[in-house]
């Protein structure tokens, strides 16, 4: 019997969510007060969920790794949020948003989940406007839209280049109100370090107070993980410094399946790497591709001269420039999806046409846009991004083209969840980037904000009740249960083991080693040989970590190096699982590109007959290989095709 039950409701695609809501179990107001819910994370998903659940009357405990919920990394999302409002009257609909998302994800997402996402997208925009989110508006006072990759309509709502910030501050303000009304209790500078399971159900967490270094216990009737993705496995990524995969990994080690770990998104427009001490990569919003044109020199000798500093990009004549996205994908041009744009950049650079002193960069040029629209319009649209670029690179993008290169940005894979967003552990839910559910093998731009808020505002507050309705007679848990003792002892032992290594390398030193292995072998282009090499090399990194790590200071105090070490121990294991999953998936789809599986034109070649499934990995213990179950993806409503952005 298949162990995976995704609990997709019966019925036609457009009626599934309505049918579900009509028949699900609910919890009455008096009982809600008696039920505790832990929400870990305060990004778009976590904050919106905590606020919404609190408003409903549940007793919510909300944890945040930073000093304030407002700092969660959702805040850094720049470009916008998709919704099927069709305000521009350009042919959009719920179905079309659904279809674009399914196609963009290279047919590796669940139809029912994605349809629901498209269905609730409009409510998100309404909710945010009601909260006072200052979206961009037309002169008539109505909301403005722009285009993003993988779509032929303008459905992206935005607040300058700071949409994530404004949406997060909206959710944060709702959360602040819930805290004021004592519906949510907030724990800042706390990091979840393990999950506590009692009688097969998630019943609490152990969190480390990052200021005192003490481990603390928290019990609840349900636990919600909203801790984002694991892109920092690569060391250099666009994620924030504390973004980590540890909460998800703890859940995996306690029995939750981890789905599609190999599916990581590489964003095409990031500022290129400059040096060995670089700490992170900075994203330049996808919205820039609305007006910027991407090119490299047509002639190898020009590219070489640019790399050597003998020529400037402005010296290259128009007919000697290769606008390779426009050339290869005439229908979508510079607005092809991220995976396609990233691979195309790598292809040109690998062929020797890359620019910048490393040869690992391409141009994003605004000269045409400035000529067509005027500098003022370009400044109004992208001013803050141009300023950000100039500060980092010391070049003026109004005068010389930006240089960009792909970087790790988002992880589509994550904790496996069913239609109700519940993991394979009863009572444990995962929302936002932390779960795997909606983006398949590639996420479209402006869809992460949509999914985070959809899960938190409009999906989880319904589906969690279907679980909690059975829990109304379960009394509040005490944290002196033996299950808490056992888990806390395990963490304490782990921390002691880390502190006692007393080696010679800092956490960052080893994290960089991990990053190099991941980028070189589990990055944009993967093949079987490289992945096997990665698995071997990761064993060495793991050994280096557990024998050569040095953590100064003590454990029961504020100790940033210890925090980082705990996260890195998990990143190394996540990297291993990513490599295993990538090796298993002998096809190319979305962000997962196996060099052995491409069309003659170099496009991703799926094998629907063999790989139309979600890979769900189950942990079997320290020295044992994980087991993989397959959740078949049966497409009932959409005909799968080779993704075509050419015509």
């Amino acid at each position: 019997m298949n162990k995976i039950n995704s609990k997709i409701p019966e019925g036609p695609l457009a009626e599934k969510w309505t049918n579900y809501k009509n028949h699900q179990k609910l919890v009455n107001p008096a009982n809600k007060r008696r039920l505790d819910i832990i929400v870990v994370g305060t990004g778009l998903a976590g904050a919106s969920a905590a606020a919404s659940l609190g408003e409903l009357g549940f007793n919510v405990l909300n944890f945040c790794i930073q000093d304030s919920p407002r700092r969660a990394h959702s805040i850094a999302a720049q470009g916008g949020i998709n919704a099927a409002k069709n305000y521009p009257n350009d042919g959009d609909s719920v179905y079309r948003l659904f279809y674009d998302t399914i196609k963009g994800g290279d047919y590796r997402a669940r139809e029912a989940n994605v349809y629901r996402l498209a269905e609730v997208s409009n409510s998100i925009i309404d909710q945010c406007v009601a909260q006072g989110v200052p979206f961009a508006r037309e002169y008539g006072g109505l909301l403005d839209n722009r285009s993003f990759g993988g779509a032929q309509v303008s459905r992206t709502f935005y607040a300058r280049g700071q949409t994530g910030q404004q949406l997060l501050l909206g959710a944060y303000s709702a959360l602040s109100r819930a805290v004021h009304r004592k519906q949510v209790k907030l724990y800042t500078r706390y990091e979840m370090v393990d999950l506590v399971i009692i009688d097969g159900r998630a019943r609490g967490i152990i969190a480390r107070n990052l200021v005192t270094g003490k481990l603390e216990r928290f019990a609840a009737h349900a636990v919600v993980i909203a801790t984002g993705g694991y892109g920092n496995t690569f060391f250099l990524s666009t994620n924030a410094m504390t973004s980590n995969g540890s909460a998800a990994w703890q859940c995996y080690k306690r029995g939750a399946y981890f789905a599609n770990p190999c599916m990581a998104q590489i964003h095409p427009t990031c500022i290129p790497v400059h040096g060995e001490f670089q700490s992170k990569l900075t994203l330049m919003s996808e919205s820039l591709r609305n007006d910027g044109r991407i090119w490299v020199p047509k002639k190898l000798e020009d590219a070489q001269a640019i790399r050597e500093g003998k020529l400037k990009p402005t010296d290259i004549r128009e007919e000697d420039r290769d606008y390779y996205l426009e050339r290869r994908y005439p229908a979508f041009g510079n607005l092809v999806p991220r995976d396609v744009a990233s691979r195309a950049a790598k292809e040109r650079c690998d062929a020797g046409y890359g620019v910048g002193n490393t040869g690992l960069a391409v141009y994003l040029d605004f000269a045409d846009a400035i000529h067509r629209l005027g500098r003022d319009v370009v400044e109004a649209r992208y001013g803050n991004l141009f300023q950000m670029y100039e500060k980092i690179v010391d070049d003026n993008p109004y005068e010389t083209p930006m240089m960009i290169y792909p970087a790790i940005h988002y992880t589509m894979g994550g904790i496996w969840v069913d239609y109700e967003l519940m993991t394979s552990i009863p009572g444990l839910f995962a929302i936002g980037e932390a779960n795997f559910s909606d983006h398949g093998a590639n996420r479209l731009g402006a869809s992460a904000l949509m999914q985070g808020l959809a899960d938190g505002y409009f999906v989880l507050p319904y589906t969690i009740q279907n679980y909690l309705a059975d829990q109304i007679n379960v009394p509040r848990f005490k944290t002196d249960a033996p299950e808490f003792d056992t888990v806390e002892k395990e963490i304490n032992d782990r921390i002691d083991r880390l502190m006692s290594i007393r080696g010679k390398h800092s956490v960052d030193h080893i994290h960089k080693e991990l990053g190099h292995v991941m980028w070189d072998f589990v990055g944009m282009g993967r093949d079987a040989e490289g992945l096997r090499t990665a698995i071997e090399k990761l064993k060495e990194v793991k050994k280096d970590f557990w024998t050569n790590l040095r953590i100064p200071g003590n454990k029961e105090t504020l100790n940033v190096e210890l925090e980082k070490a705990l996260r890195l121990a998990d990143f190394i294991e996540i990297g291993e699982l990513m490599a295993h999953d990538a090796l298993d998936r002998e096809e190319s789809c979305g962000g997962h590109f196996r060099l052995e599986h491409q069309t003659p034109e170099g496009e991703a070649l799926r094998h629907d007959d063999q790989f139309s499934y979600v890979s769900c990995w189950e942990y079997r213990g320290e020295d044992q290989d994980p087991v993989m179950y397959k959740e078949p993806l049966n497409y009932e409503f959409v005909v799968r095709q080779q993704r075509n952005y050419k015509s």
Binding site: S68, A76, P134, A174, H180
Partner: protein
């Protein structure tokens, strides 16, 4: 062109809120001017760890100028000598070979020091919880286009909403006032029809909480505006004063 420089960093070290604290000076060699300021501190910490010493604790997260987590008084200026950016966006090309760079935490009664350069800014969350929101529950709201908002108003609201809550305004103010922070939120919501319903209650509640938490008064010095990494204007403070007075007179 960026080159490598040798510098000294004079850093405030304080082992907890009750410790007296002191400066320590560390030499750093061959720092690329292309590095960010925080990458320079990473290099310092790597050096300290290799010497078996405790690294310098400082807040940071997104490293792209938007989360508001990074702080630091650098050579006497919050977020360093450049205007309109956060510490994480500051690059070493702003400094010269041989410079001694002084790095201190935010110093304000409202933000007690946790360790070294890390301070406690939960007071800002408390002010927000007092009224920095529109009281709407999830669901049951009108269509997003039901209420047209003049573009100019939406843009002014966005100017105010750009505040990242870093606390530089408080740190820069000789009175330790949080008026720029509070006024940015009050302005954003007072400029939008959705926020106007509760404008009186909001202005009073947020100001009361700010006073209660020990932040000082505004004497129109303007240092906050100059040092704000997001260029939040003090016209917001004028608007807050109007909102507050109108609310008080209405009582």
């Amino acid at each position: 062109m960026d080159k490598d420089i040798n510098i000294k960093v004079k850093v405030w070290r304080q082992n907890g809120p009750k410790d007296k604290g002191h400066f320590e000076t560390y030499p750093l060699e061959n720092i690329s001017q292309g590095s960010s300021f925080l990458e320079m501190l990473d290099i310092l910490n790597e050096q300290l760890i290799n010497e078996g010493k405790e690294p310098v604790v400082f807040d940071h997260d997104c490293r792209e100028g938007i989360c508001g987590m990074c702080s630091l008084y650098i050579n006497g200026h919050p977020h360093g000598p450049d205007q309109g950016i956060t510490t994480c966006q500051l690059h070493m090309r702003r400094f010269n070979d041989g410079d001694t760079i002084t790095v201190e935490p935010w110093r304000s009664a409202g933000f007690p020091i946790i360790k070294d350069l890390m301070v406690d800014r939960t007071a800002f969350d408390k002010i927000m919880q007092a009224g920095g929101y529109v009281s709407v529950n999830t669901g049951g709201v009108p269509d997003a286009n039901a209420i047209p908002i003049p573009r100019h108003d939406a843009e002014m609201a966005m100017d105010a909403a750009a505040c990242i809550g870093c606390g530089a305004c408080v740190a820069a103010c000789k009175n330790g006032s949080a008026m720029l922070f509070v006024s940015a939120k009050v302005s954003q919501l007072a400029l939008l029809p959705q926020g106007r319903v509760e404008r009186k209650q909001r202005a009073k509640a947020m100001v009361a909480k700010m006073d209660e938490l020990g932040f000082g008064n505004c004497t129109n010095t303007g240092a906050c505006e100059v040092e704000c990494p997001k260029n939040i204007s003090i016209t917001n403070i004028a608007r807050l004063n109007r909102e507050f007075l109108k609310a008080k007179f209405a009582d």
